[in-house]
């Protein structure tokens, strides 16, 4: 006689623990269910209920397996965050350069009265941006060259702490750069007045804000996941 839902319950419990990573949860659900059903099919006794119980018992504690899988998911997520940072910074750089090129093509000049402010804000923009580039590349190289962890141990925790610290500094610098760009664009637009041609700098600023915002959310998501997975390991 078959145990109603014994395998289903086991698979559900394991998959639910991995809900924070939907694609992993879905994939593990299918893999583990296939494994358990095959173990039952391979059991030579005619007692299906006992075979199911054995299959589930032989598979191991779902909480332990979920915790081990979660660590790999976290390592993947941190690598994705570092790649997203590089792409985000590159997109912001292109938007920035595109806007400057457009100013030159349209022969827009800066209001003479505001040139000193533009100079200061421009310096903040440059330094903040290049700082974020260095921090972003540093994060990418650092996390990309670490080995995939076996456990949420102190070594992995330290790696994540360093990665998140530098990522946070990087996004803060990038946001400072985008804010400076916003000020410079506003100064530029105030000197020329609003027209259809103003849409180009406005659009490029929107791209910068969007990229920086998405990147900040990505880093926040990774930070949250670290907390979730730490809880899974401490449970």
């Amino acid at each position: 006689m078959q145990n109603p839902g014994l395998i289903d319950d086991y698979v559900e419990r394991l998959a639910r623990k991995l809900d924070f990573d939907r694609s992993l949860s879905r994939c593990v659900r299918q893999e583990v269910e296939d494994h358990l059903r095959e173990a039952v099919a391979a059991d030579t006794t005619n007692d299906v209920a006992a075979a199911e119980r054995r299959a589930v018992a032989n598979f191991g504690d779902p909480d332990v397996i979920a915790a081990q899988l979660a660590v790999i998911s976290l390592a993947k997520q941190s690598r994705r965050t570092s790649s997203a940072s590089i792409l985000g910074i590159a997109a912001i750089f292109l938007a920035m350069k595109g806007r400057v090129a457009w100013y030159a093509a349209a022969q827009w000049t800066t209001n003479i009265d505001l040139r000193s402010i533009v100079g200061i804000v421009g310096s903040v923009d440059r330094y903040a941006f290049w700082f974020s580039v260095i921090a972003g590349i540093g994060c990418w190289l650092y996390i990309g060259t670490r080995r995939f962890p076996h456990a949420f141990d102190s070594m992995f925790r330290k790696q994540l702490d360093r990665f998140l610290l530098v990522s946070t500094v990087m996004i803060a610098a990038l946001m400072a750069s985008v804010a400076s760009d916003g000020i410079l664009t506003a100064i530029q637009l105030s000197g020329t007045g609003f027209s259809a041609s103003s849409l180009v700098p406005i659009l490029s600023m929107a791209i910068e804000i969007l990229c920086a915002g998405l990147l900040a959310l990505h880093i926040r998501g990774t930070t949250r996941r670290v907390t979730q997975i730490a809880a899974l390991w401490n449970a």
Binding site: E31, D34, H35, F148
Partner: protein, 117 residues
Amino acid sequence: MLGMEGEMLKGHLDMIVLAALSAGPAHGYAVIEEIRRRSGGAFDLPEGTVYPVLHRLEQAGLLSSRWVTADSGRRRRVYGVTKRGDKMLADRRKVWEQFSNAIGGLLGGTRPCKTPA
């Protein structure tokens, strides 16, 4: 809870899984069966332990995977060793043989203590 042998085994799981897959692509259940068969039943870890190892090795580029439909109609994930995985296994094998020879020499060289009269 794993005993001492289990703990020792855990440290070599990557190599064991790579070795089990070196014969050809297989899914998780077949990997476990192959480990049991080739170890003569000596390695009997919880079966679920193999999945985090498979996922980690895939992320590290040592394994690749694809989904197929099994005869039962269920979706099945089949893993295979990549070129990088092959190279890693060959390296690990070499290190293991050196280590095993060294330990074998040490243990084989011990003499039982004489029982006092």
